[in-house]
């Protein structure tokens, strides 16, 4: 008789076996296309029970309930096919099969053969099977993360309350959805959570995550076992299982398909036979698979043969892996190998424009700061949006979310506001870096539970109740205290990175030396990792970059692992690349050489002479055209900016705008209206003009002057519509023509538009809709504007709109394209 133990105890002792395919078995048994398999828990319990029984007869330990698609989007609360009833029946079917086989009988009541009795003499567990919701989460799709968590919770609550042994979250092809399901399980019950995800041929999830990313994120969230299932056959899973085992400190699950299906004479054929499956699974066990089973196309024959085939094997040990990893939603960044550059520019401290962007809710500006730093090769982006007058938690959550929609760099959540920290941690897609905690008991009590719950690499500052220790010894002691306290929560030392604080040498001449000593001590004596905000060192000194970059080199030499810095700083980049080459991190100096070719001394900086630029279209007048006009018409961004730099020295802003930029835009606009030029050209010109405007604005700001605006316009893509490219085109053009545009973004509720129009005293509103289904939202917006008694004219546009539609929904104007919107606005504000 076997010893009773929990599933985690069993996994500690040796192999544990999962069932194989379910859906493919039901299809073969007659499940019709589009029929919901979960209804078979009620309609055909005997088939479900037999499937479970047959798997156990081959030696399976963990049964997967037939609840893959059981969620509240598919099943209601009432009736025999309610979510609750179907989950209960699914668990009943599994329990019934277990009870039957454990009583030594088959489902017909006959005694079992000795062979089956032996194989079934093992521990049996019921896993609540939780599959994906069939919806992409925002921002890629339309399901909000919080809603996904709630939907998963309903399913898991029912299953956990009815008594399952573990939660299996499976076939996830999106890391974000997997996180939603894991959180739902954690917040519902204390059962072990197993996660398996579906990778494609390139060993990535559909939304891009690598196995390392999944492991780091899942372990951070506290899952008990992690692995791979579905979409691939066992042989294709080899590199995936290798990577999972390489990074996982928890057991690895392997549930492959029986190869890829094909059809022959109307029957589905899977190419991998039980014998081939067994051979491949033996290889996967050697690669680190410990919890083994199958997915689509595998049958009790496959799994039974596989289990017999493991008799002679011992699983690879589950070992603690000491890698310090943070991840984005696609890839991981490993600390301790090469210095990690953390871009510091998303931070309002000392930045007037950034503060303004935060106050005006100009998210695009913040995102652009992020993209620029990515371009400049930052590894990680620090995100700090703290400003006393704004709602930091909401802003933090939004910026993290929007940044992850455009950049695949991991982020560092930088805040002292605990609510902001929690909301960012909760909604982050991957395993983030968290900046920061310090050695004060009160701080540790607040921050550690969050990091324990959500996972993350925590930056710990060497400050405590007594302040910042003046000696390296003192800072090392605080670091030790923090490690110790974190361990009480089960936060591992590898998930803490110490910041021994760089303080200005202008205040204390020995401060750099203390920091450097602390760096060395933390590395050598504690085996810890370190991070520094290096620029602080030069505060109060002239030509700060020189001091900062020299200190950066010294810090690297003393073992610094990560620096919060400005990736656009030429001095810092010089230090970074030379250090990497000199310290033999950049082998063969490959990166250094690549970097060196980008230096100004080597780069080619020849711009075409004014006369050389020809237009290639017949819309420009020959000969006399000003080079700036030509540059804008041709859409040459850099050249337009460079020429404007020259012009602002001798000409007034009005001369440049009215005499060159507007005429240039008119040439292109006319060409567009006459169908001699096309949308991309119109936009490239607009962007060239924007570049010129930026130069003018900067020069006016330097002289304290303000550019006069022609009129204020609110634009938005209406509620329910997430297509904003058309609206953005209109925005770019309107701004070029000197209008003050308040862009409310996409999917904007009517109430917000009304409120903004009222608050900002706006009389011209531009609304965009791409889909017929969202035109009613446009109509509603117009209605609400009227009902609020606002004197605002509305111009509508977008793919599905026509003059007829526009009239029907009582819009003031219909604009067929962006140029026409400009014409309408010009006419309106002129009168």
């Amino acid at each position: 008789m076997h010893k009773l133990m929990t599933v985690m105890e069993a996994a500690k002792q040796g192999f544990v076996f999962f069932e194989g395919g379910c859906g493919s078995i039901l299809q073969a048994a007659g499940l019709a296309p589009g029929e919901l398999p979960e209804t078979w828990n009620r309609l055909h319990p005997e088939i479900i029970q037999k499937m479970h029984f047959d798997y156990m007869a081959g030696g399976v330990n963990i049964l997967k309930t037939n609840t893959f698609g059981a969620n509240s989007m598919k099943f209601g609360e009432e009736g025999e096919d309610s979510l609750e009833n179907l989950i209960h029946l699914a668990i009943d079917n599994a329990r019934h099969a277990i009870k039957t086989i454990e009583s030594g009988k088959d489902l017909a009541g006959n005694d079992l053969s000795a062979e089956i009795l032996t194989k079934a003499d093992t521990n049996h567990y019921v896993a609540l099977d939780v599959g994906p919701l069939g919806k992409l989460l925002k921002p890629l799709g339309d399901l909000a993360f919080d809603d996904a968590v709630e939907i998963f919770k309903k399913t898991i609550q029912i299953g956990a309350a009815y008594g399952v042994d573990l939660i299996l979250i499976e076939t996830m092809n999106d890391l974000y959805e997997a996180k939603a399901a894991i959180l739902a399980a954690k917040e519902t019950c204390d059962l072990p959570i197993f996660l398996t995800t579906a990778y494609d041929e390139s060993a990535k999830l559909l939304t891009g995550a690598s196995p390392m990313t999944v492991v780091a994120t899942a372990e951070g969230l506290g899952v008990s076992a992690v692995g791979v299932n579905c979409s691939l056959g066992p042989d294709q899973m080899v590199p995936i299982v290798e990577e999972l085992y390489r990074y996982a400190s928890i057991p690895v699950i392997v549930n492959p398909n029986a190869g890829l299906p094909r059809t022959e004479n109307g029957r589905t054929i899977y190419d991998v036979t039980p014998e081939l499956f067994t051979k491949s699974m033996q290889v996967l066990a050697e690669k680190g698979g410990r919890i083994l089973g199958g997915c689509c196309g595998t049958t009790p024959a496959h799994i039974g043969a596989m289990i017999a085939g493991m008799d002679s094997l011992t699983p690879q040990a589950v070992t603690e892996k000491n890698d310090t990893i943070i991840t984005s939603y696609t890839h991981g960044v490993v600390f301790g190998k090469r210095p990690i550059l953390i871009g510091e520019r998303i931070n309002p401290t000392g930045k007037k424009k950034f503060k303004e962007a935060l106050r005006n809710h100009d998210i695009d500006y913040i995102l652009q700061e992020g993209l620029t730093q990515q371009e400049k090769k930052a590894d990680v982006l620090d995100v700090n949006v703290g400003l006393p007058e704004i709602d930091e938690p909401s802003m933090m959550e939004e910026v993290i979310y929007e940044l992850q929609a455009v950049t695949d760099l991991p982020l560092q959540i930088d805040t002292t506001n605990v609510e902001a920290m929690e909301r960012a941690l909760r909604h982050y897609n991957g395993k983030p870096m968290v900046n920061s905690v310090n050695g004060k008991q009160e701080e540790m009590d607040k921050v550690f539970p969050l990091v324990k719950k959500y996972g993350g690499l925590l930056v710990a500052l060497t400050i405590d109740e007594a302040g910042i220790p003046e000696t390296a010894e003192g800072r090392i002691a605080v670091a030790e205290k923090i490690y110790k306290e974190a361990a009480k929560y089960g936060i591992k030392a590898k998930d803490i990175i110490i910041d021994p604080l760089a303080m200005s040498i202008s205040a204390d001449p020995r401060s750099a030396l203390v920091t450097l000593d602390a760096l060395k001590g933390i590395k050598d004596r504690l085996g810890g990792l370190t991070s520094l905000g290096v620029s602080n060192i030069s505060f109060g000194l002239p030509s700060r970059e020189l001091v900062t970059s020299s200190f950066f080199m010294m810090a690297l030499q003393n073992g610094l692992n990560a620096a919060i810095m400005n990736p656009s700083s030429a001095e810092m980049k010089k230090i970074y690349y030379t250090f990497m080459a000199l310290a033999a991190i950049d082998e063969n100096c490959t990166e250094y050489i690549e970097y060196a070719t980008t230096l100004p001394a080597v780069a080619v900086v020849a711009a075409p002479a004014a006369g050389e630029v020809k237009t290639g279209t017949d819309t420009t007048a020959p000969g006399e055209q000003d080079p700036l006009v030509t540059a804008v018409v041709k859409g040459l961004k850099e050249r337009s900016a460079a020429l404007t730099e020259e012009y602002v020295k001798t000409k007034t802003a009005m001369d440049i705008i009215d005499g060159m930029l507007i005429p240039a835009l008119d040439i292109v606009g006319k060409g567009f209206e006459e169908k001699k030029m096309f949308l991309p050209q119109l936009l490239m010109s607009a962007e060239a003009a924007s570049a010129a405007f930026d130069v003018i604005k900067a020069s006016m700001a330097a002289r304290g002057a303000e550019q006069e605006k022609k009129g204020k316009i609110v634009i938005a893509t209406v509620k329910g519509d997430i297509h904003d490219i058309g609206k953005n085109i209109v925005k770019v053009l309107l701004e070029n023509y000197g209008f003050d545009v308040i862009d409310l973004g996409k999917d904007v509720p009517p109430e917000l538009i009304v409120e903004t129009v009222k608050k900002e005293d706006v009389h011209f509103v531009g609304l965009s809709a791409l889909m017929t289904t969202t035109v009613p939202a446009m109509e509603e917006t117009i209605k609400q504007l009227k009902e609020a008694g606002l004197d605002a004219k509305v111009c509508v546009g977008g793919a599905v709109l026509t003059q007829e539609y526009a009239d029907m929904i009582h819009a003031t104007w219909y604009a067929k394209d962006a140029m026409e919107t400009v014409r309408i606005a010009e006419e309106f504000f002129a009168s």
Binding site: L136, D142, P261, R267, K675, P680, L683, M684
Partner: protein, 207 residues
């Protein structure tokens, strides 16, 4: 006969994205396209192609017709003159859903911040890419049935002609493209990823 849902993929590098076609989507007349215009598109292709992951799923189902342009599809009946005309004479049909993947949507979102012009051109690049992928898929499906002496009809998508877009609901229920190809249906009946196509492809006896 069971009704497996099968998948089809193609290396993005093998897709034929014709810059002239891209420009045509953007409204350029064929005769007016210059080398410079083509270069503007081609400059964007390497990055665009690097984030495309063409993937499709399809299933083969029985089909029958009733009086008054009524068609029995695997997920229910629909009344459509246009689809009846397209499928007339077919005993079976394929349903498919195809996409170039979500990373392409992310690229466009990112470009929107750095250059609206490029984002706009990329929209058309994506359309041309998914179109070529679907052409490949249809050629493949045609080959599949040719062995059995069948031929396929030109594809027809929900939302075309008098086939309401809400057929997407049934099609998604039958084909489960979320699971097999990573394509989902939003509440607005628009698909995510954005560059995705679903369609009916009739199968008829070769004459």
């Amino acid at each position: 006969m069971d009704h497996p849902i099968l998948t089809y993929t193609k290396d993005a590098k093998e897709l034929v994205i014709d810059s002239k076609e891209v420009l045509r989507y953007l409204g350029y007349g064929r005769e007016k396209i210059t080398e410079e215009d083509k270069a503007m598109v081609e400059k964007l292709l390497p990055e665009a192609v690097s984030v495309m992951h063409p993937r499709a799923c399809y299933g083969r189902y029985e089909l029958s017709f009733d009086e008054g342009n009524v068609i029995q599809l695997p997920y229910g009946t629909i009344t459509s003159r246009d689809l009846t005309r397209n499928l007339m004479g077919c005993q079976e049909l394929f349903l498919f859903a195809a996409t170039i993947g979500p990373a392409f949507d992310t690229l466009i979102k990112k470009k929107r911040l750095t250059s609206v012009a490029e984002a706009c051109v990329l929209q058309s690049v994506g359309a041309a890419a998914v179109e070529d992928f679907v052409e490949n898929l249809c050629a493949f499906l045609s080959q599949e049935v040719q062995k059995e002496g069948y031929t396929t009809r030109p594809r027809y998508s929900p939302g075309f002609g008098d086939v309401p877009l809400n057929n997407q609901v049934g099609l998604f229920k039958t084909l489960q493209p979320a699971k097999y190809a990573g394509i989902t249906l939003m509440d607005t009946l628009i698909m995510a990823p954005e560059k995705s196509v679903t369609a009916y492809v009739g199968i008829m006896k070769e004459k």
